[in-house]
Point group: C2
């Protein structure tokens, strides 16, 4: 096991009917800005539930945070916070709204041009407004971590930042919010969570038995409940297990003390930037071919994955690895997510451009061994066609 | 899955050589009291490592916190803290030292007689001094939870309390500290951790798939590494996995959203109070007969335990449950821990007294169904002879 630090102070408030608890989670004299995305927060009734729980408190609303939240939009929220002297930010939505809210929280008291926050990976953040969240779409884990990704449209740049100051103070996870999700978003969320786990698990063995047990348990849970949930979206227990799994997939726990990869995410980001493909889908395209490409470097963990996650114990090493990768791809397809670039009308002619973008963004040494050079990324992309 | 709250702000600093990090974890002008137990902290060099890391800071020391830390001893530390205007408490030891330090932290600013803290389960605590820990003996999980148990010798009362204010700010977990533990304490620690998990897992199914996966993973880890570690105590990876498992066994995570039992602990406490039997050993005595006694109420989870933890899939339901309980008992015995009262010279003549003590301490409705009455406890104790 590698040395590690683990710290996560977010208070999780989990279960049906918990949104009403906002009344005890927030001080009576808080001045709250409620941030949300599109019209679904209104249509599904979640926003009304939040308004009711806020009661007599002074609160303002900021809607319209888009998927892949933009710097340009978020800076308008920063203005509103300053103007209305807001002292608490409440994100109501999925990863994009929560990520965006974290950026607003850090940008308000930031000395200097807030884009620096992204350029410096959050290292210069000294304080942030407190953030609470009401999660509606389980996928990114943003509700219980210190990460955020923001896109600056004007310069076509998608960057992330990390800082302890943007851990949500609390996050309300009500599984019934899964009931009304568009199936496409639900499927994307299952795949996103799945690949958050593999990024922290499918590397090389360091005898992190606890971390491996937890990662394998979360993967088996997603494999079991993902397809069932898509058929039976209002099943509370399936929804609850999905919601808690998605949170635990990226709250720092399973990645503490083990190597991490994240190459699938980095290559996938370029597909979203260039072609607007949903984040979860980009991961489903890249992961199978990345695993094939890295099968020697990842051999130990791939064999363990085959055995403990997919229950494959027949055949040679190579056969078991092939079977595990095929089962992974089949799982994504079963969720209705195509796993080849051609399914998204992306052809071989785009590969050069994608590799150049990776290089331009400093993504020339990806993976747990920093061995995925632009040429390796090219091979992975070609194999994803 | 049941509704739940999960909150745990302790910063874990894990790995070899991490004690030196005290220098960055503590402010330069902290006035520190280092609390420890017997002579082993000195003999093993841990105390010297701590002193070195504290450098030029003003610090004081308070040794002699006993196993099952006593109110009488701890109140002396409270005096020293007040006299020396200490503003940070650093516990160096295992669960007893950490539990005791949490009590001191809450008692110093407490208005009123500090024993009230125990009498009111910590509910009246409004503040506490910050606590950090350097863990030497993995077992109780106290390094990452809000629990403490203190004994008042003068009235022979052992009571617990819980409060968010006593979560350690940080805990340093250096697995090499396991190298020099007496094997008896190591074995006790494995059993203690194991039964912390079963108390939160062997109840009734509520479709907490994630919690079950995590609990089963931790149990399998202990089953695998416990006996190996006793034979090879200086194996870093075994020690590291044991240390992290013991912490995760009782940091609130696996118990969030599922029923909990704790009857084995409550009955076990009476054995420690009456006969001075090590806490871990009392649990190993009670658990097998409690599971036999409660086999109908726990049937669903016992069958799951048999399959997923012990890989038993042959035989009738009854046979599989019997086999799982027998394997559990055998595991404890394999660690060198006898599992019958007679092995500790406790005979049938003591059972009445033990049952009376349980009643006197309000332990008349134990277990996840509150169905373990004094008469059921009597049957369990008789079956433990």
């Amino acid at each position: 096991m590698l040395n590690f630090d683990y710290y996560n102070p977010t208070h999780i408030v989990f279960g049906k009917g918990r949104i009403a608890q906002l009344d005890t989670l927030l001080s009576k004299d808080a001045r709250v800005l409620v941030l949300y995305g599109g019209s679904s927060a209104q249509k599904t009734g979640t926003l009304d539930e939040v308004r009711k729980a806020l009661g007599d408190r002074t609160y303002f609303e900021f809607g319209g945070i888009e998927p892949n939240p933009s710097y340009e939009t978020l800076m308008k929220a920063v203005e509103q916070v300053k103007q209305e002297k807001v002292d608490f930010l409440l994100a109501v939505g999925g990863g994009s709204v929560i990520d965006g809210t974290k950026f607003v929280a850090a940008a308000v008291p930031y000395e200097g041009e807030p884009w620096e926050i992204l350029e410096t990976d959050g290292k210069k953040i000294k304080e942030a407004l407190p953030v609470g969240t009401v999660l509606t779409l389980p996928a990114t884990g943003s509700e219980m971590n210190r990460n955020s990704v923001v896109t600056r449209k004007s310069i076509k740049s998608k960057r992330g930042f990390h800082n302890d100051h943007v851990f949500p103070v609390f996050s309300i996870l009500d599984p019934t919010k899964v009931y009304t999700l568009p199936p496409r978003q639900l499927a994307n969320g299952v795949v996103d969570s799945f690949i958050h786990i593999t990024e922290q698990y499918l590397t090389y063995p360091v005898d992190g038995m606890v971390q491996d047990e937890f990662a394998e348990g979360l993967l088996r849970t997603l494999i079991k409940i993902g397809p069932e949930l898509l058929k039976d979206q209002k099943n509370y227990d399936l929804a609850a297990n999905f919601m808690w799994t998605a949170t635990l997939a990226l709250n720092g726990l399973i990645g503490a003390g083990v190597p991490q990869d994240w190459a699938t995410h980095m290559i996938g980001h370029e597909l979203t930037a260039a072609f607007g493909i949903d984040h979860g889908r980009t991961l489903a395209i890249i992961l199978p071919s990345l695993l094939q490409n890295q099968r020697e470097a990842k051999k130990g963990k791939l064999l363990q994955y085959a055995k403990n996650v997919w229950h494959i114990d027949q055949g040679s090493d190579d056969e078991r690895i092939d079977a595990a990768i095929e089962k992974t791809r089949h799982f994504f397809e079963l969720l209705g997510i195509p796993t080849h670039l051609k399914d998204y009308d992306v052809g071989e002619e785009s590969i050069d451009m994608l590799v150049k973008e990776l290089e331009a963004h400093g993504m020339s040494q990806l993976g747990e061994h920093k061995a995925i050079t632009p040429e390796v990324s090219r091979a992975i992309l070609l194999a994803s066609l």
